[in-house]
């Protein structure tokens, strides 16, 4: 792993309605790396992203960006941080202000970081070219663009201040598969050009696996497993990861069937949060909350029953 860019430790967020959305989540993203967070709805992946973007403040935990503590930054420092930390949101239909042209929306971001007016249109044209849209799209309004074009424009906006980390929150989930492939290729190409790091959040395992160097699997607000994408896919260690992989349509091998729905995050089970749906749960799972432990170099699992021997690749 390269030089760490973002180090988040023990992030915790409880919403006013009592839901413990994120429970002691730590993650590290290196420069130029792509880290994927995968999990089902309500697992806390989006809340984690919003805390990293400082759209939500964590109840507990610390965050460092490029070596600087950012959990408690003042307003002016936060502004310069935000140039380096950008977002590609989920829903193409609402990711642009319907009343502003694409160019004006990008100009808004540029002007937040002191770009002069006369240099704006050249910069916007260059950005739109880079994402394969062309400068003429600058004067168009969001409703005139297709979902794929809007997500390209959203990527152009995210890249306008040369960020070091872009958070993609389900950024391709709403797109048709053929268009999704175009946008995924674009993200990879831009990363190779600029060395930007991605935090890529999705419920779609195949997409996360394809794009990520490392993957974090979340369940009910906690990290249950993390490791290099390829290894995790070849050899998942946590029973939830196994079930998730085998459930994806078209997956090879026998299906591990999970019973029922995830429990309510407002009232998680004691001990291991997955034990209520786990086929190999034992009595101890209800008592002790499993810690994330290193089972192989750069692989960590939060399961009492995951054996190191089981995990090491054959």
């Amino acid at each position: 792993m390269g030089e760490p860019l973002l180090v988040a430790e023990h992030l915790t967020k409880r919403f006013p309605n009592g839901v413990l959305a994120v429970d002691d989540v730590s993650l590290t993203i290196a420069k130029g790396e792509t880290v994927g967070i995968v999990g089902e709805s309500g697992c806390g992946k989006s809340t984690t992203a919003r805390m990293i973007l400082r759209l939500l403040s964590p109840d507990a935990g610390s965050m460092q960006f490029a070596g600087e503590e950012i959990g408690m930054l003042g307003r002016s420092r936060l502004r310069s941080l935000r140039a380096k930390l950008q977002l590609v949101p989920q829903n193409p239909q609402t990711s642009f202000n319907p009343r502003l042209s694409i160019g004006s929306s990008i100009a808004f971001n540029l002007q937040s970081h002191g770009w002069e007016k006369r240099r704006l249109s050249a910069r916007i044209g260059e950005l739109l070219d880079r994402v394969g849209l062309g400068a003429s799209y600058s004067s168009r309004y969001p409703h005139e663009l297709s979902g794929g074009q809007l997500q390209r424009a959203a990527i152009a906006r995210a890249l306008c201040t040369d960020p070091e980390l872009v958070v993609c929150d389900e950024a391709v989930s709403a797109l048709d598969k053929s268009v999704q492939a175009q946008v995924l290729n674009l993200l990879v190409e831009l990363q190779r050009e600029s060395g930007v790091a991605y935090l890529f959040i999705s419920h779609d395992l195949t997409v996360v696996e394809h794009l990520s160097d490392r993957v974090i699997v979340m369940y009910l607000g906690r990290v249950v497993e993390e490791g290099p994408a390829a290894e995790l896919w070849r050899n998942p260690a946590h029973p939830y990861t196994k079930a998730l992989l085998s459930a994806s349509p078209g997956a090879a091998g026998p299906r591990i069937k999970l019973e029922g729905d995830p429990p309510s995050p407002a009232n998680p089970p004691s001990g291991c949060c997955f034990r209520t749906r786990c086929a190999i749960a034992i009595n101890e799972c209800a008592i002790e909350r499993p810690r994330l432990r290193e089972t192989a170099p750069s692989r960590r699992v939060a399961c009492l029953r995951a054996e190191p021997a089981l995990i090491s690749a054959p």
């Binding site: 307003r75 949101p89 829903n91 009343r99 168009r140 409703h143 995210a158």
Partner: protein, 303 residues
């Protein structure tokens, strides 16, 4: 990736760019493409405003000078096209001069309430739940009274006069405008582009002016335009009750009251100021409907 932008996209691009130049210029064809509501409502409103401004030039008579010899002439009398009132004053001249205070009493309170109501609504919509509850429930208290009764109560407390009409109408118009602004703010606060705007590093004031206002303003403007019509009626009502413009200054509500006494001797005469109030009020309502269509970004009127 570059080849991903295909002929298909190119075609779409060419199509759109060719339509570009007309977006900002104002050709006659652009005017003709305006929604009929804007043309009709806007046309009548413009005429009313011109009449009000040009009153000294076009009014045939002094609106305050009467003569007992020419009392209560009917509509169509030579020299007094719309007749004269109980003091022998020319009704047409009184209507023309009366357009000034009537339009001012219609437009100014709406403008004041529009600015204050939008600001309060946006703050309530984007604020925390406690602030929102506090603001909106206090406005609900105002809203709970029938508007005209509240205006009468405030007018009666402050006394007659154009300024006091403006103050009382402004107060009663704030709650409905704030509600519109609040619901629009609530709708957009959770949309993805607000997250994108916040992660840009912009401050709240800049986000408010550049991102929020362009979304809140159109529905508020449409609503306010229609409210001007209502405010004209309310202002006339206050004058009618003696809480508005101080006589002998002419205004539509006051003129209506003057002529009311002669309803049985000159029935047509008393309808004249009522017609003026109705036309002005309807014109603003039609203009509001037209603006709703005009300000809809999705409507493609170029075709």
């Amino acid at each position: 990736m570059s080849e991903a932008t295909t002929a298909y996209d190119m075609a779409a691009e060419v199509h759109v760019t060719s339509g570009q130049p007309e977006r900002r210029s104002w050709h006659l064809s652009r005017v003709r493409a305006l929604p009929p509501g804007v043309l009709i409502g806007g046309g009548i409103v413009s005429i009313l405003v011109i009449v009000a401004i040009a009153a000294p030039l076009i009014a045939p008579d002094d609106p305050q000078a009467g003569s007992l010899l020419t009392r209560l002439q009917g509509v169509g009398t030579s020299g007094h096209l719309l007749g004269t009132d109980g003091q022998g004053r020319d009704v047409l001249s009184r209507l023309i001069w009366g357009a000034r205070p009537s339009l001012i009493a219609g437009i100014v309170p709406v403008a004041i309430a529009g600015v204050i109501g939008t600001a309060l609504g946006a703050i309530a919509g984007f604020g925390g739940s406690r602030l929102r509850t506090l603001l909106m429930r206090s406005l609900d208290v105002l809203y709970a009274f029938p508007a005209i009764l509240l205006a009468i109560a405030i007018g009666a407390t402050l006394g007659p006069g154009l300024t006091n009409v403006i103050v009382s109408l402004s107060v009663i118009l704030i709650p409905p405008i704030a509600r519109i602004a609040e619901s629009e703010a609530l709708r957009i606060r959770s949309l993805d582009f607000m997250d994108a705007a916040r992660t840009s590093g912009a401050g709240w004031i800049r986000i408010g002016l550049r991102q929020v206002l362009p979304n809140i303003a159109p529905p508020v403007i449409v609503y306010c335009t229609a409210l001007v019509g209502l405010a004209i009626v309310y202002a006339a009502g206050l004058s009618f009750l003696g809480l508005g413009i101080v006589p002998p200054q002419p205004d539509w509500g006051g003129t209506l009251n003057d002529l009311r006494n002669n309803l049985f001797t000159q029935p047509w005469l008393s309808l004249v100021p009522a017609a003026a109030i109705f036309i002005a009020s309807a014109a603003f309502n039609i203009l509001g409907d037209g603006l709703r269509e005009l300000l809809d970004v999705r409507a493609d009127r170029a075709k």
